[in-house]
């Protein structure tokens, strides 16, 4: 019934979906996982990243010689990172900072911010979806025997791994990352040792937001983008972080690939709708068994 090819392609699709989930959940693993801020506007930061790619594409179409067109995508990634991080920083300073002690209020407030961002996108770009032309080096795919692996999927897989390793490198090998870890483990003591926890909070939130921007950039490879693109991904992102274990980056990795592969397998043996139902059943059952997720970790208490 299941040929080797089908198993391999299902596995590839699962890993590919996992890498997409990982990319959209990485930022959230930082803002929700480490900082315990329920940022409902995270999806809209993904949207910002996607529209930035669209804008840069249009700039290239209008102002750059056609032979350089492909470069737009390479440039979009860092620009999306920086702009989304900037918006995140603004959000932290103006709003979230004042709501650290009130998680439910921050949930509502960030949801409102999300709606504002959506409407802003609608006003600027219009309600209909817009398309981004993938750069030529990402169209087509790798043919292995009878298998066809799209370059865009392989690129997202690569990008998610690069993002993951840069986050690990940043957290575990740099002074700034060390400060973040110290603050998340014991913010009062870190403050007493001269670490400015205000700056660290701002920076951490900006980094989490920035990676949402990168995810948005990558999502333009998969389909059209619209003002509500974020809403369709935010649930998945929270799911990955909760299953993986709040406060654990490594948990987000296992959560993303676990959900990605299971989802694809379920969809393959049943159908898309039932597959989605099954994955939710599995997650609910799993959280009954391990309420704090795959990787348990003490996160900072909200203070």
């Amino acid at each position: 019934m299941f040929g080797l090819n089908e198993i391999i392609i299902t596995l590839f699709n699962g890993i590919s979906l996992g890498s997409i989930l990982l990319l959209i959940a990485l930022g959230l693993a930082i803002t929700f996982g480490l900082m315990n801020v329920i940022n409902m506007a995270h999806g809209e930061l993904i949207m910002v990243g996607a529209y930035i790619t669209y804008v840069i594409q249009n700039l290239f179409v209008n102002y750059a010689p056609p032979e350089y067109f492909d470069l737009y995508f390479i440039i979009s990634i860092p620009v999306a990172l920086i702009v989304a991080a900037g918006i995140g920083m603004l959000l932290e300073v103006s709003l979230i900072r004042h709501l650290y002690k009130r998680p439910l209020d921050s949930l509502l407030a960030t949801w409102g911010i999300g709606l504002i961002l959506q409407q802003t996108a609608r006003s600027i770009f219009g309600a209909p979806n817009v398309g981004v032309t993938s750069p030529s080096f990402l169209t087509g795919g790798l043919e292995v025997g009878t298998l066809f692996l799209p370059y865009s999927r392989l690129f997202i897989l690569g990008l998610s791994i690069v993002c993951l390793f840069s986050i690990f490198y940043y957290f575990y090998r740099t002074a700034s990352g060390r400060r973040i870890r110290a603050v998340m483990q014991n913010r009062q003591m870190a403050e007493c040792l001269g670490v400015s926890t205000r700056k660290v909070d701002m920076l951490t939130f900006a980094i989490g937001s920035g990676f949402a921007g990168v995810a948005g950039c990558a999502l333009t490879l998969l389909g059209a983008i619209g003002p509500t693109i974020g809403t369709s991904y935010i649930i998945d992102a929270f799911m990955v972080v909760v299953v993986g274990g709040v406060g654990a980056l490594f948990g987000a990795v296992t959560g993303a690939f676990g959900i990605g592969i299971l989802n694809t397998v379920f969809e393959y043996v049943t159908n898309a709708t039932l597959g989605k139902v099954l994955i939710f059943v599995v997650i609910i059952a799993f959280l009954q068994w391990r309420p704090s997720g795959l990787v348990m970790s003490r996160s900072r208490s909200l203070d």
Partner: protein, 228 residues
């Protein structure tokens, strides 16, 4: 350091009342008192974890009553809290590096390993995996790496095995003798207090009830306040 009319506590209940204290350069002030009389609250207020309801704190003739803990640390205040407060998932070495945040220097002074050689051996272990005594040594070392000009020590020898207690006491005496660092030391052992302190304060019910230069301290009087 000059503290005037300090009142602080949690929520509505004030734990310390009308505390006045003067600490000169290189002076060691010891604070004694029974459990729950406000010694830890006093130190937390000085480092800025708690904000006083009344009174003022001046440090190097600057009013720091409203300053954040991090800026107090940047000004040269070091804090060794009760319960050590090590970062459990940071290695010993990383814990020390966080201690450097308050100072200007980039590298950890090797002298710290002369004080506590165990910290060099365990550099790569997680802080949370150390024993209580080792964590206490790490907490003291972490406060010392930034070369503080003012050190707050909250019962540094409480609940620690005797050989390490001796080591810690030697370090405190050495800091007093070899640097200009001032200290406020909360301590229960009167003999050790007499060997290191310049001044002794006894606190009861949140107020200073006894204050004397150490050479005028009468054991009987102190014990009267400490007995349960």
């Amino acid at each position: 350091m000059s503290i005037k009319g300090l009142e602080a506590g949690y929520e509505e209940s004030m734990v310390i009342r009308e505390i006045d204290m003067e600490v000169e350069e290189n002076q060691v002030i010891c604070v004694m008192g029974r459990n729950g009389v406000g010694k830890t609250t006093l130190l937390k207020t000085i480092i800025g974890i708690l904000h006083p309801k009344e009174g003022s704190i001046h440090y190097q003739s600057e009013d720091i009553t409203k300053a954040r803990s991090s800026s107090r640390a940047q000004k040269g205040m070091g804090y060794v809290p009760q319960g050590r407060e090590i970062f459990p998932k940071l290695t010993v070495y990383e814990n020390l590096l966080i201690g450097l945040e308050a100072g200007k220097q980039k590298k950890i002074d090797e002298k710290i390993y002369d004080y506590f050689p165990i910290l060099k051996d365990f550099a790569k272990r997680n802080g949370g995996d150390l024993s209580g005594g080792q964590q206490q040594q790490l907490a003291i070392a972490r406060a010392l790496v930034a070369h503080p000009s003012f050190l707050l020590l909250d019962e540094p020898t409480e609940g620690i095995q005797p050989n390490i207690v001796q080591e810690i006491q030697d370090v405190i005496i050495d800091i007093k003798n070899t640097s200009a660092t001032s200290m406020i030391l909360v301590e229960q052992n009167l003999d050790f207090v007499k060997s290191v302190a310049d001044y002794l304060y006894v606190i009861d019910h949140g107020s200073v009830v006894y204050k004397n230069p150490i050479d005028q301290v009468e054991d009987d009087e102190v014990y009267r306040y400490l007995s349960v």
